[in-house]
Symmetry: C2
């Protein structure tokens, strides 16, 4: 029965029984964590052999003839560009290989726009107020970059097909709007993959700012959970019709393929953007870790190798998503107190309260021994204006811990809903 | 006989015979390179086993209990901080571990000063003209960073004891002078180690700018060539007397210990600077490659392990320095046409013409098949005002190639000197 249809005395009675359950769980003094969008240990074990690539004394010279032990090759070894070229479906010359962090690549790119400008325009720092559109709920580390640079964030609620393109078309008429943060495939946290119409419409944008740059963070490009994965239209293909390829800079990494924070990352961008980025990089570094690039190329070999590896990841984490979704389906769905999307890939389930407070759920979980992603973190400045969204991260806990965790979550969601109604 | 003491007709005769030699060498169509401050292949072979650290399925969990395969630990694993703590003689809490490039750490630090300020002061970008003192001859990639950020460079010629502290004391009375580039041990290219007096005097500086920051690039901290290495006073020890530790930020890396561009790097700094840097880093990245940190810790173990490894490097490259210095001693010294310092460590020999043009020597070498470090590169904007300095890098060529290379160099130095006198 939906909570909103219950009589007051029944809600009071329910509250008592929920609180009894809650006290029991509190006394168990559990310590559980559903906050971390990070692979679990079993997943990390999948990649151990990446570290053994030089076991037999194999050469450090790439097939392309580069001694990967020494200085040189600013933008990455050809084999590594080829690998990402296959995954992202752009030519190798439009790829730059980075270090172990795509976030670092994004920060540094936005930094260069601020400090020295992009596309021949003046530095953003000299153009007055700079704004970015933030699709919400979204990724807190994107918002953190904007905060660091003093970029004003304009929240635009996501739709089931991706960003609200109609709103965005209006906003970009303002030339101080310099960019958008996007996670276009299995978006963080909603798990939505932008529809073809959405991608086309974004490619067709006519921003007032000539130095408009969309951060196309394709972090989950191969992170499918099922045999019928979402397919994301290639933004650069879409851009060809409009000549708008300079407006999009794509990022990805192997963090959730090989090792979080110890893999390799990549940028895919137009010829102009690649040239601008390389120019700045040539002042910043001599290059990134080519031995780690070689390690990944030797182990995974090509996009098929990557995809085969991802199936192993899916075999471990799809059941974890199942555990959470099944619990929500049986415990929450009948009560009409919350909504969520069932993602086809990625790392998160985005829960929105229909009745109840996300903040309150977070507090209750914390006191019961369950850590959730900081409530509000999925919004700029950590403030969810409607206090509805919670990002659930199922991948790190063991299956047993996860079952306990989602049980606690459901209980707290119920308590908060009942409190709101009384 | 000194060229300056020769009669005109003898110089003409000499010129002819030098040019005959030159034509012969030109016809050999050699291809030699004395420009690259990079380890040779034999040196890189020394570190191969760093790549085999996980051969036997060793754990990726550090002794400190960190799973180095996963996200976390922004500033580096404790064991790695401990390693650099021993080498640089600062407490581990004053160390941050970076990626594979110390240049990248320097660029990013100067960037944060420009963009968000340091030490509680306004961003440099909002303070009008920003200047840096450049000890010359110096390192072109330092100058490249300054150029990128539009920082005005003030050249101050080096002395045999290090920077010209008297000149620097005057210059820092200007609050727009925000920093100095220093390579304090086996400086690039002079090979000079700052004397204790110099380090003390720098520590005693009273800059007008409260946000004054010296880039203390200790790239060659353990890169001794002999059993009687230079000893550099610890700048932070020197600073204690004056309370000036915030003015110095130290950098280093294992590029010339393990692998250039594929090792690990580190910052050593005061508590205040470490806090400011970590704050910016927390917006920029989740952390650097902890597996590579663990690899280095497991292989080298401690500072003694590093020093033992460096002796192997010295065994390979000290003879190369000998080859160059012996040739200069026998071919150039008697002629009074050039000067050089005999370094006790580091990667370069700095040659200064007494008679002749550095540019001309560079051209002659190039046409004879020998590439030198771009002449002028050791000065800001690539312009050596006196056209005297050439940076010789002996480490990369084989001993045989090096012998040929320095022979060509001496010949070209002679030709340029004779041309100048006629």
């Amino acid at each position: 029965m939906k909570y909103t249809e219950m009589k007051k005395e029944d809600l009071l009675s329910l509250k008592n029984s929920l609180q009894n359950e809650y006290e029991k769980i509190k006394n168990l003094k559990l310590s559980l964590d559903m906050s971390r969008g990070k692979p679990g240990r079993e997943q990390l074990d999948l990649s151990y052999d990446v570290l053994k690539v030089f076991n037999g004394g194999e050469t450090c010279i790439s097939d392309s003839g580069i001694d990967c032990r020494n200085y040189g090759v600013l933008d990455g070894i050809p084999e590594c560009k080829q690998l990402f070229s296959e995954i992202l479906e752009v030519p190798p010359e439009n790829i730059i290989i980075g270090g172990s962090s795509s976030l670092n690549l994004m920060f540094d790119f936005i930094c260069q726009c601020m400090v020295s400008g992009i596309g021949g325009c003046a530095p953003w720092k000299d153009q007055g107020n700079v704004k970015f559109i933030c699709n919400v709920p979204g990724y807190d580390r994107h918002f953190g970059i904007a905060e660091y640079f003093g970029i004003e964030m304009i929240s635009v609620p996501m739709t089931p097909n991706g960003p609200d393109v109609e709103k965005i078309k209006e906003l970009v008429k303002d030339s101080s709007v310099k960019g958008i943060f996007c996670v276009p495939k299995y978006s963080n946290p909603d798990g939505v993959t932008y529809s073809d119409d959405t991608v086309e419409s974004l490619a067709a944008l006519k921003p007032a700012a000539k130095d408009f740059r969309v951060i196309w963070d394709n972090a989950y490009c191969v992170h499918d959970l099922t045999d019928t994965p979402d397919r994301l239209m290639n933004i650069f293909e879409a851009c060809k019709k409009y000549g708008s390829e300079d407006y999009f800079v794509e990022f990805t990494s192997t963090s959730k393929i090989s090792f979080p924070g110890a893999g390799i990352s990549a940028i895919a961008a137009s010829n102009n953007n690649i040239a601008d980025i390389k120019k700045r990089m040539s002042s910043q570094t001599i290059g990134f870790d080519k031995l780690n690039q070689l390690r990944h190329v030797r182990y995974y070999k090509n996009a098929d190798g990557i995809r085969a590896h991802m199936k192993k990841h899916a075999a471990i984490i799809a059941p974890k998503f199942r555990i959470v979704l099944d619990a929500l389906e049986s415990e929450i769905a009948p009560l009409g107190i919350g909504e969520w999307i069932k993602p086809n890939g990625g790392y998160f389930i985005s829960y929105n309260t229909a009745v109840g407070s996300a903040k309150r759920i977070g507090e209750l979980c914390k006191d019961a021994g369950l850590v959730l992603t900081t409530v509000g973190a999925t919004y700029p400045y950590g403030i969810d204006p409607q206090d509805r969204n919670i990002r659930i991260a199922p991948t790190f806990p063991s299956d047993d811990d996860l079952k306990k965790a989602v049980e606690i979550f459901c209980l707290c969601a119920k308590i908060s809903a009942v409190e709101s109604l009384l």
